[in-house]
Symmetry: C2
Subunit: 257 residues, 2 copies
């Protein structure tokens, strides 16, 4: 068996999330349907770097699958794309060592979140940016980002319903926000993110941007290890799984497509 | 009765066009549904500057309606928006003279069309830009645009199925194309546009950009007065009704939202 690694981008707005679910339109479901067609009806499971929720987008999600077919590694991209709907597109395919695993081998992930902080909403952005009309103080949110960086127990920043057992300690290498073209871009890079972690961080940063919490409150919220001290979970449409890093070849993707 | 004029923006991707049709989701249908709610169930017809087809967007479409309700002119915007779905948004409302008519009083219209001329498609643009992978010569298309300007019989550039009787003579005051951020922006301003006229012009310009026709062929195609000499009808998702001009207050809208 050969192992093929693909990078895939998807518009999450019309999917019930990444993970396959009976009767739902999912990214994994569409990928496995395309691979089954190529493999003459036989099931080929795909393994992604992790799930994304309904409405969440991906710029460079990674998945792998195993195959006995002798299609050249770079041709898988075209073969699968020809069978995918318009809201999923594979940007590269390559053969990898049999030891590679798209989930277990992740070194770091990057997520970005976009907020349009304008009075009027933009109908063309409604599925791609979170419209937040109240005025935000960018400097306060930047200061709060610095308190998020480092190795912490992020229990306060994950869904209380999360069933994940094990450590809630994660390292955020980079957290920042900046304004561009009327949109606020939040960037988070870390060695792993808990369920809903980025969206709860955003909800908390928006509280800080409005002056309802202080930047240094991030430290005490982390210390509480209790979901109820953090802000609300921000909606999915502003969130992008930006890239998944396996090695130290961390090239920059300059701008939002 | 008072007459209220509104400017409305909509994302056409999930509508079966502007005009109301039984059993279909349309922009006019959503506007009249909202107005019926405000008017306690009684029908209030809306009159737009013109129709847009399924998948076509509008930045500043104009419509009017008549009402006996004494809501202040600028409050209609908020009242109607609160009842509209997320893909339609009214950006202004004002009371106008009873003699005003949003269709009959139009002096000029502006349409824009966006083509992404890149090898790879972008999943986030699929409903908003026409992806055209073949290489295009921008200068040839710019030259062709100059042949479109002026007063011509545009019979060759309207659907052969068009049922419109009367003159097919229209004046194009401005036709241009330019490249920005990997997208080609086409701008057309005229005193009126026939059914499918912009999309057939775009199909013809793309032939010229590929070298399949010459820029000066525009003149002979116009002279033929026969739809079969022009190019194909370009798809709807790249097309935006950009603005509707009633007076000589032709302010610029700088960039695509």
């Amino acid at each position: 068996m050969r192992k093929i690694k693909c990078i895939v981008t998807y518009d999450g707005s019309r999917f019930s999330g990444y993970q396959i679910q009976p009767g739902q339109r999912t990214v994994q479901g569409e990928l496995e349907k395309a691979l089954a067609k190529i493999h003459k009806g036989s099931h080929t499971g795909v393994h992604a770097s992790g799930r994304t929720d309904a409405g969440v987008h991906a710029i460079r999600q990674v998945f792998h699958f195993e195959t006995s077919y002798q299609i050249p590694e770079e041709k898988w991209k075209k073969a699968i794309n020809s069978l995918l709907p318009g809201d999923i597109y594979i940007t590269s395919s390559e053969e990898v060592a049999s030891s590679f695993h798209s989930r277990f081998d992740v070194k770091r992930k990057e997520y970005r979140y976009y907020v349009s902080n304008t009075v009027e909403p933009n109908v063309f952005w409604r599925n791609y940016v979170f419209h937040f009309a109240y005025q935000l103080n960018l400097e306060s949110m930047q200061e709060a980002c610095r308190h998020l960086e480092g190795t912490h127990d992020f229990t306060s920043f994950t869904s209380a319903k999360a069933t994940t057992k094990g450590s809630k300690i994660r390292t955020i290498y980079h957290a920042s926000c900046s304004e561009r073209d009327g949109q606020i871009e939040f960037i988070f890079r870390g060695n792993g993110f808990l369920y809903n972690m980025v969206r709860i961080i955003i909800g908390t940063l928006l509280d800080i941007g409005q002056g309802r919490k202080k930047p240094e409150d991030i430290q005490s919220i982390i210390g509480k290890k209790d979901r109820k001290y953090a802000g609300e979970t921000a909606p999915p449409q502003g969130l992008y799984l930006w890239k998944v890093i396996y090695e130290e070849n961390d090239e920059e993707i300059p701008s939002k497509p």
